[in-house]
Point group: C2
Chain length 386, copies 2
């Protein structure tokens, strides 16, 4: 049907942009990075990132996607001949192995099937009986399956190994779940700009603990661009070793000010509320959730009805209503779709999405009671709202 | 509840902005209006306005709100001692009398109660028996009551009086309803920028027929800024007599390109679909529509439930969900609320609005079957959609 169809991102990154932050970047096109003005912005942004991370640890910014920071975490911590332990339960967990292979590092795997969280007990056993490992790697939230891992339990375990760092990919976990960097011992925590911080892709963040800095000092794997120690020295002065992505940093500054205004804990509570409402809404339509337990707050993975390709749902939502969701990745493609609610999303976004999903499923031949999933989401809102 | 609440305009002006058009204005801050570059933009914009108006008549742009063009229509057409005939059924119709009074012009009134359309038969009788009138004034859509007037019937009648011009306030009617400028004899048709053309306030438009130009040539009321003849000469060259609102013109150019791309008729069909869905949704909640007949496509006026102040609904929607709707004006304040769907609105906007309205009404003590109004809107969509 012709007419107005607005594009609305419901993908787990990129996420809807905070327009105030975008507007700020537009007036900053002439900022040069080797100036006092930019050093001030950079320093303030790093302080705001510490608020966002809720940690006094160093936090560094790289002009790269999150994967760059994942690679840097390996190449800054390990040395030839050392081993790493990886807990994986999805496509992003699998990425650690590609990095390890590129650097000739042996990566020991603890793997759960897609849709389940990583088995932390199994990781603890490996740590105790098959060590030493220089570092342990895990996703806070595995975005490909929309499952949350028990990072706290893993952190408590890794704390007992003074020569082992815990590296957490918090790219979609940050700003959507409670991650206590210092209390839980998250030595390196990785974030990305196109997620809950509501700005476009192009920046990665890492927080680095004192324990991690000690291990980094001993590492002998090659790295140049992703040199955490070099950036630590530069960023302490509001500088960067190489050219920073100035407009993204300025946008990040504005977005983090917004997050500080609404409160980091409320950003997380917002994602948790939307996630609970999304699960209730999907189930009201008779759809099965892909995560059997420990669902993520960042996104919800929903199984397509039997006999229906999830790609058809993705397409129908896009062409009819401009709503963009993510298909499954790898072997999950066609089986599931993923609806995000991390960052700049609110309840009316979710109401609109599920009303559109109902119509789309109906058009694809699924039996739908119109309005029923919206009602389920409203009920969740009413249970939590004042 | 803390968290993310996005502000969403559901007001009948300003309306949601087309961000592509806004982005275009940002890069144009350095354009000077007395240049070939701006003359080209201005000329193209005037051509696009003719497409939007669907007329070969002259169309002029003024840096003013729509009221300026309403005043100009009086001051360019009439002379001292001449009379005007006004059809009114709401707050915007009443504005003509303030203008007439300011210029010492006798304005004869044909008035319908709020919520009804103007009685065109009564206007025809006045034309036939109590003339002559130099001009006849009416709203295509009376925004204060969300009622559409039968401009076509009035146009057919006024055509019979060669010394009488028909002036139509199409500020919210343009882009939301079928207005056939030449076929129906709409001698002056007024538009505004913050309506269906999706840009901010600050511009008014007028189309002027050959018949109107003939009468304008004889007019002797004072005017200087709103001088239609002077602007006709200037704008034919892509210029303006006084400084134009350059960034708004550039935004208008971009927005009209978008409208040409989706099709003017589809912009109107979009508003008509949303209006039909809005009426069905409101009625599904047991709410009474304020317009007893001839509801507008631009906005829907809904009566508050008995014993409830519509201002409470406005406030609840705003604080809970960031949804901004309009209260009633004048004596309608507290009695009705007005939900707009002109310009850059789509079905998911409406789904989100009604889900939020349901929750808000429930919180205010109205009995609501959650999801029911969303379902009614979905049903309307499904009846029309392929």
């Amino acid at each position: 049907m012709p007419g107005i169809i607005k594009e609305r991102l419901f993908t787990p990154g990129p996420t809807p942009l905070l327009m105030e932050a975008q507007a700020r970047t537009l007036t900053a096109a002439n900022v040069h990075h080797r100036t006092e003005a930019f050093r001030k912005i950079m320093s303030e942004t790093l302080s705001l990132l510490k608020y966002y991370y809720d940690t006094p640890n160093d936090v560094l910014i790289f002009a790269s996607s999150g994967t760059g920071a994942m690679e840097g975490s390996v190449s800054n911590l390990l040395s030839p001949g050392e081993r790493m332990l990886v807990g994986t339960a999805g496509k992003f967990g699998e990425r650690w192995f590609g990095i390890a292979e590129a650097y000739g590092i042996e990566a020991v795997k603890v793997e759960s099937p897609y849709g389940r969280p990583v088995n932390i007990e199994a990781m603890k056993q490996k740590l105790a009986s098959e060590g030493p490992y220089r570092a342990v790697f895990i996703q806070a939230t595995e975005t490909s399956t929309a499952v949350m891992n028990d990072v706290r339990a893993l952190g408590e375990a890794v704390k007992n190994y003074p020569e082992t760092a815990l590296v957490v990919d918090g790219i979609t976990g940050l700003g959507t779940s409670d991650l206590r960097v210092n209390e839980w011992g998250l030595d390196i925590l990785i974030g990305g700009s196109q997620k809950a911080v509501m700005i476009p892709p192009g920046l990665a963040f890492v927080s680095v603990s004192e324990k991690a800095w000690g291990l980094i000092a001993k590492s002998r794997l090659p790295h140049f661009y992703f040199d955490f120690s070099k950036e630590r020295k530069n960023q302490a002065k509001g500088e960067t070793a190489y050219t920073p992505a100035t407009t993204l940093v300025i946008g990040l500054h504005a977005a983090l000010e917004y997050i500080r205004k609404i409160g980091r804990e409320n950003l997380i509570a917002n994602a948790a509320l939307l996630a609970e409402a999304a699960r209730a809404a999907a189930q009201a339509l008779g759809l099965k959730l892909f995560a059997e337990s420990s669902p993520a707050n960042a996104a919800t993975a929903v199984c397509a009805p039997a006999g229906m390709d999830s790609g058809a749902i993705v397409k129908e939502l896009r062409t009819r209503f401009g709503a963009v969701i993510a298909n499954g990745q790898g072997s999950m493609k066609g089986q599931i779709f993923r609806l995000a609610h991390l960052g700049y999303y609110d309840m009316p976004d979710l109401f609109a999405f599920f009303a559109a999903l109902e119509v789309s499923l109906l058009k694809l031949g699924h039996k739908v009671e119109l309005g029923s999933s919206v009602r389920a989401a409203q009920d969740v809102y009413l249970r939590h709202a004042g």
